[in-house]
Symmetry: C2
Subunit: 392 residues, 2 copies
Amino acid sequence: MISVKPDAFKEKRDIYVNLGHEVTEIDLKQGRVRVQQEGGRQNNWETFDRLMLSTGAMPAEAPVEGLTAEGIFRINTLQDGLDVMDFIAREQPQNAVIIGGGNIGLEMAENLLLRKMKVTLIEKEAEVMDILDPEMGALVSQALLDMGVRLYRKEPLQSVDLKKNRVRAIVTNNRIIPADLVILALGVKPNIHLAETAGIELGPSGAVRVDDTMRTTAENVWAGGDCAESFHLVSRRPTNIALGTVANKHGRVAGSNIGGKYAVFPGLVGTVVTKVGSTEVARTGLQEKEIHQTGKQYVTAVINSMTRAEYYPESGPIAVKILAEKDSGRLLGGQIVGKAGAAKRIDVLATALHVGLTLEEIADLDLSYAPPYSPLWDPVALAARVTRKKLS
Amino acid sequence: MISVKPDAFKEKRDIYVNLGHEVTEIDLKQGRVRVQQEGGRQNNWETFDRLMLSTGAMPAEAPVEGLTAEGIFRINTLQDGLDVMDFIAREQPQNAVIIGGGNIGLEMAENLLLRKMKVTLIEKEAEVMDILDPEMGALVSQALLDMGVRLYRKEPLQSVDLKKNRVRAIVTNNRIIPADLVILALGVKPNIHLAETAGIELGPSGAVRVDDTMRTTAENVWAGGDCAESFHLVSRRPTNIALGTVANKHGRVAGSNIGGKYAVFPGLVGTVVTKVGSTEVARTGLQEKEIHQTGKQYVTAVINSMTRAEYYPESGPIAVKILAEKDSGRLLGGQIVGKAGAAKRIDVLATALHVGLTLEEIADLDLSYAPPYSPLWDPVALAARVTRKKLS
């Protein structure tokens, strides 16, 4: 998972990477940062001409006591993953409870099942994967149940039962679940403490406000990645999306501008994909609750089709949900849940969102067809065609 | 493969389907067609108010004698496929020779290999799959060789060796190949004989000329499917593409207009996908030889990447070729050859062609990423980024 090691940064790029050095304060007036070395007493000031803030995201927490007890993990860094694996090897936990049904929660559920644990997932909402609308999330909930996960929906975490500072059970509004391994997967929030205390402005999403060159409101300070905002091309508002694709682009743009070139981040459309067992999940654009926030009127439909020609051996079900602006017929968002070959179809809808295509234009696209890949009408185009009928 | 049976046409749609009835002449002045019933002596005239020409395509032929001998098949209709299967069951041929390395030739090669025959494919061009540029076709040629096909390139068919009107061998410029089953797969041409003799105009592609409502130059006559032209949105010229997706759309548009509604066929961008063993093949837009015909100046690059994150178990190689207009940077075409998950990525490029995206815009698309689906930079976006460097 590590693309470039610290040595290579120095040797190949002339960049000094200081691991174990925490910046505890930014002094904008004097152009310097206070650095605390791990385990050291020193507390040096380092000066800068230009500063890049890439402080990332951190796991969201629940307002519940005892979540720092032994056996309870967050999944944020590579080391966190290694720590869980060490704990499993050492303690051989039997009952894993995952709190939260987002990307990380689902990936952990699958992988702990593979390690032969009894896996329970509790989710405070009606369905897992709240980046999907509930009827699409329900398909993912069902996939988890089919895999053997004990899934409890509408059951927020209420407390943890500890014994000698070690987790023994998880308590919801409805039940007590024995637990010797707990994964806290409540999503992430931008890590903005440093920026905030330095007086660097945050945006409406709660992340660091940047312009399209990734410059913050402070002179000579740029920001990018999970801690920074992005312009959402569909809602036309700043948003905070903590994904590697976005962070990579932010970094390139900020780096170009800091280095004296010129680049802009063109905005995003909110594309996310994930996989749960053999079930593929994807979304792009806005989901219903986000459309409500914009005040737009919309139409929507869900179609059920197949990933390949229906007589083709590896064909499996796929559901596509389309959301489009009333009257104009412009696409606002799409959601996909299905078997192999389903998720990557979201890219057509993402491309359509970038350029503001209407449902009619999407239905007319010359998309590829051959029996191993698609029914004659690609499910995405079919969904656009079916949704379009709701416009009139 | 039969979506609607003749009975259902009558019962559910009030449409009379007359199988075994061949139209041998169109009389435009009197609005009637001459119908010859199979095996019958009758030769009736049937009148029409509005006529739809959907005569399809027929296999291209080679200027070689003896190609009607026993053991030599074309693959055009469902019955042709059944005939080959009957022949195999009855004669148990050992040595199959396929003439032509297009879609049909490749599909037949794979399926005859699965039936344990020794399969030889001869191709007159430097590489198979001439809908790809040669360096991309070479990847498909290699896939055939890896599957165990004996492939002879730059070897056009010269003659067939018969014994008692039964095929015994295929002769190229270079060798004699023993053959007891031969598949003639030289591509298709539009079946325009009826239209032509009735004085209905053909277009520059050789297929029936139509406007965007699928109306021919003759009053009250529409055409659609493999026998008709389509407007190519990239070359801005009429073209003839014999694919089910196109035919389905043609039929809907023509049917709407014949029935008194209004619909237009919006044009196509030349998207084609196929599969050879585990190798996926796709193209859209124009290939180099087609760009030359337009006189446009262009830049091009091929990138090699992976279908998924490189550390992900099912990740495999993918090559993407991009062609773009010089100066403007607008996409002109794309070609993909790779393993599972490769081909359907062509749909992003097809969508980009519909709206005239530039390489910069494609590189900036918010395409989906998660390790099971893609490297962080989707190969299609990466290819656009790499090709863009050639613009300056």
